[in-house]
């Protein structure tokens, strides 16, 4: 059967989500898929557009990658505008030619509405919709002092935030008597206005602009119908959106009276081969200007094309929870009490700046809607009551009263039905979460990875955590953060106890803060904490019995009880003389020799008693321990960099050596790997490391929390174009914050996935110093760097420490009788079980 052609017009959030959904179905194999995008950029997250001025790039905001399209055989044509649809011939036209389709999806989105005000064509009159718009706003802000946003809705306030972050004095001009007239009532709007004005944004309500003229003190003057005026250097229109439906209109599809492409419950237009989803579509006389309903349409259509006859779009919840300019705003369901018989309960604390309103049914049993301003902590509970029709408690007002007045605590996750929607961005229900937990997910990170819950807007993070914890607990999974039976504390708690109380031994810690004698869980964890805090030798008498065997003997135990040795080769750079020494030592002790993935050499098969002898030779030749045995920095892999490579733009080897020498020996909750690539070709594979550094023309880009191995994760771009000093300072801070806050044996990737607030939070802590701890983190790192010692050098020089390496303390000449060997490819290796000698 020959494939059918599916064409998608529009590559925005909804169009991209549709493709993600479709390729996950069997139907994907039936289609050749072509996507046309008017913008030159790959679909990106418009919800977080204002972050573009906070340092985010298109790459940060992008929904997917060009590689993803390639891997899924989707022909992506960006910057190629579709100019016509011929429904009779089933073709579309672009400047490049005509393309035939079997099924056509319109995901063209919307455009900003610019009110017909005289003078609105002035070059400093702008809109707020695309990254290009933001570039124009940024350009216009050069030399400007003030900026006005016309429109006090959700997007308008976002735009005001953007102007503020460009350093402008921001004003909001709204035609209605209050801000966010769709979501808020008069009291809520008034409180929001007050709060926003306190943040330095001037709000002008009930202002109708009559004309825009040249200003006297600024570039422009806005004249209002009440004979007042306002001068400003630039104007951003954000007065609502209009469906981008011109193509549909010219091809005579059924349209709404005020625009919008009419669709049925299957998201199909008046032409059975043409479908529409997102903000360009009109369903039941409604345009949905939020992303979640667009995603729901995308999922519906993907199911329809996959042959699901039941799939239907049945409207969407328009509840919203936002932080606008730092102020919490929430609006749920029938916020304006339009349901007949609806009653209101209001709580308005002007002192604290909290406003809450519940709209309840006539019989007082159901929550119909709600409005929150100033504090969204009640939002999740109220939303669940409203969405799931859960019966309200006897005294429903307790749901919005402050807790000191007998307010009810949050609705426990147990009270939610299986159908309760937890994550509306990715349509994940409580039942879905239970399903993946039953299938084996046993922590928050894996539930997120499996269901995508809380990876959209992130608004459901706290609720998701509660549900996961509660469901795990029900299944008997211990979600206690206690490290083991000896300490009723998490690793992070223990770290703080050790640091604050200046505790230097395990004995003191367990005597004062734990019980019993410890075990193989808490002892190595505490050893790591003690090492991070005080950096004493791991083989000091008090610390020896705490270490895992690999740390105790500073080598890696292999399956036959012998050890492997990995000397440090910083950045993978080694002189021929040193390489010869490695060969000579390996030959002398008949050690199996293999190159590691981290650009070093691993020597296998040394017995306990051989270790100090071997290290004496290696140290004499200038080698240091490589800490391959420790939960600590392993290697900093590098490409050859601009010293040799024709494409390199920075000295990646030099930086790798600097980093490796700086962080070597540092004890962490788990191993830490780094890499430095000398250009964007990324030969060092830095994005798969805990810390990845990639050279740019202007400095270094830093990626954090990547991982290879069992659960690969690309690192998150953390900061760009850093100087050498900035790079090191930033890594110092992130490493120390990880060391202090991660769980035991938690790699940075899982740490990041479980970090509340995620990447944004980490950026705030590290780049903006939101916790005020950066100086302390840097000082701590400086102390550790200053007290580094090569553990092996100290050990071989100390007869007491060397005693530990006797295989049998009463028979030094005795060889372990169970170690049996054979030869393979000219090297010695252990005999496998059952293998003849």
């Amino acid at each position: 059967m020959s494939k059918k052609t599916l064409i998608v017009i529009g590559n925005g959030m909804v169009g991209h989500h549709f493709l993600e959904q479709l390729v996950a179905t069997p139907a994907a194999a039936d289609f050749d898929i072509k996507v046309f995008g008017e913008e030159k950029l790959l679909a990106y997250d418009r919800v977080h557009l204002s972050e573009y001025f906070g340092g985010s790039t298109h790459a940060d905001l992008a929904m997917g990658t060009a590689d993803w399209y390639g891997e899924n055989n989707i022909d992506l044509r960006l910057g190629e505008q579709v100019t016509a649809i011929d429904r009779a011939k089933q073709t579309i036209t672009t400047p490049m030619g005509d393309y035939a389709y079997d099924e056509l999806v319109l995901a063209t989105g919307s455009y900003p509405f610019v009110p017909p005000i005289k003078g609105n064509e002035h070059p400093h009159c702008l809109v707020y919709r695309t990254l290009e718009d933001l570039d124009s706003i940024r350009a216009s802000s050069e030399g400007a002092k003030t900026g006005v946003v016309v429109g006090g809705g959700l997007l308008g306030l976002e735009a005001a935030n953007a102007l503020k972050s460009l350093g402008l004095e921001a004003h909001v001009v709204e035609f209605a008597p209050r801000l966010m007239p769709v979501q808020l009532d008069a009291d809520g709007g008034a409180l929001l206005k007050r709060k926003i004005e306190e943040l330095g944004v001037q709000v002008h309500t009930e202002k109708a602009t009559t004309e825009i003229v040249e200003g006297e003190d600024a570039r422009l003057r806005m004249n209002f119908s009440d004979d007042t005026h306002l001068e400003t250097d630039l104007i951003v229109f954000s007065a609502g959106i209009r469906p981008q439906d011109a193509l549909a209109r010219s091809s005579e599809l059924a349209m709404g009276e005020r625009g919008g492409i009419v669709i049925n419950d299957q998201c199909t237009t008046s032409d059975p081969h043409i479908h529409a989803i997102g903000e360009c579509a009109l369903w039941s006389e409604k345009i949905f200007g939020l992303v979640a309903p667009g995603y729901t349409m995308a999922r519906t259509l993907a199911s329809v094309l996959n042959g699901d006859r039941e799939a239907a779009f049945s409207g969407a919840d328009m509840s919203t929870k936002l932080k606008l300019l730092g102020v919490d705003v929430g609006s749920i369901g029938d916020a304006h009490a339009t349901t007949p018989g609806a009653r209101n309960i209001r709580f308005n604390d002007e002192q604290a700046g909290h406003y809450r309103r519940m709209v309840i049914s006539e019989d007082g049993k159901k929550l119909l809607g709600a409005i929150l301003v100033g504090d969204n902590s009640h939002y999740d509970t109220l939303l669940q009551y409203a969405l799931n029709g859960i019966e309200l408690p006897q005294q429903p007002e307790t749901l919005i009263l402050p807790e000191s007045q007998g307010g009810a605590p949050t609705l426990g996750p147990d009270a939610l039905p299986e159908t309760a929607s937890i994550c509306s961005c990715h349509n994940v229900s409580k039942g879905d979460i239970c399903g993946v937990i039953d299938a084996g997910c046993s922590d928050l990170g894996s539930v997120k990875a499996e269901t995508k819950a809380s990876t959209g807007c992130g608004g459901c993070a706290a609720l998701l955590k509660n549900v996961v914890d509660s469901e795990l607990e029900k299944r008997g999974v211990e979600v206690s953060k206690d490290i083991c039976e000896h300490f009723p504390y998490s690793r992070q708690d223990l770290f703080n106890i050790v640091k604050v109380n200046g505790i230097r031994t395990f004995r003191t810690l367990i005597r004062d803060h734990g019980k019993g004698h410890g075990c193989d869980i808490c002892k190595p964890a505490v050893a790591s904490i003690l090492a991070t805090c005080w950096n004493e030798h791991i083989l000091a008498t008090d610390h020896v019995p705490l270490q895992d065997t690999n740390d105790t003997f500073m080598a890696n135990m292999q399956k036959n009880g012998t050890y492997s040795i990995v000397p440090r080769i910083p950045g993978g750079e080694i002189t021929p003389d040193k390489l010869i020494v490695l060969g000579e030592v390996a030959k002398e002790y008949d050690l199996y020799t293999k190159i590691t993935g981290g650009q070093r050499v691993d020597l296998f098969g040394a017995t306990l008693s051989q270790l100090p002898e071997i290290w004496e030779k290696l140290i004499a030749a200038g080698f240091e321990t490589g800490h391959a045995y420790g939960k600590s920095l392993r290697t900093v892999k590098s490409c050859v960099g601009n010293t040799w490579c024709r494409y390199g733009v920075q000295d990646s080897v030099g930086m790798a050596i600097t980093l490796e020498n700086r962080y070597k020996g540092l004890r962490a909750p788990h191993k830490v790997k780094m890499a430095v690539s000398g250009c964007t070709r990324e030969c060092a594979e830095a994005q798969s490391k805990d810390f990845g550094v990639i050279a740019t023309e202007n400095g270094w880009n830093l990626y954090v929390c990547g991982n290879g191995g069992m659960r690969p994760r690309h690192g998150d771009l953390f900061a760009t174009d850093l100087s050498d000093e900035e790079l090191i300072r930033t890594i110092d801070r992130v490493v120390m914050f990880y060391v202090r806050t991660a769980d035991r044996l938690q790699r940075t990737s899982v740490w990041m996935e479980n970090l509340e607030g995620g990447l944004d939070y980490l950026k705030q802590v590290v780049l903006e110093d939101s916790l005020g701890i950066c100086e302390e983190l840097e000082q701590h790192m400086a102390d550790l760097v200053g007290t580094y010692q090569c553990e092996w050098k100290t050990a071989v020089e100390d007869p007491e420490k060397r005693k530990r390496f006797r295989e049998f303390v009463n028979a030094p000449e005795k060889k372990d009788p169970v170690q049996e060997w054979t030869t393979e490819r000219d090297q010695r290796r252990p005999l496998l079980e059952g293998e003849p000698a």
């Binding site: 004698h517 065997t549 003997f553 009463n810 372990d816 169970v818």
Partner: protein
Amino acid sequence: MKARTSWDVVCTVDDLVPESGVAVWTEDGPVAVFYLPHRLPALFAISHTDPFTGKNVLARGITGDLKGQPVVASPLYKQHFNLQSGQCLEDEEVAVKTYPVLLDGNNVRVEVPAANKESAAA
């Protein structure tokens, strides 16, 4: 009738590592001697051989207590063995051999099956 045994000196107090183990060679093969100074008794001796792999490594495991029992964790695959009974906590069908052990002045003695010599004590 009880088999003939001997209390062999395997090492001195100075050889022991507090809160940890050392391996000694005996007539009965490799034995791990643990010294836990904050417990009574403070000395334990079990086979040095990990029953799950047959490798001689148990003296290099981390010691501690689980639910009040003194234990060592195998450094290879982390199963726990009761230092008094030799019982594996994760698999009730597996146990390691245990040996009586005592401190005689500065010497550590382990009771092992007698080889070709007279038993020193019984």
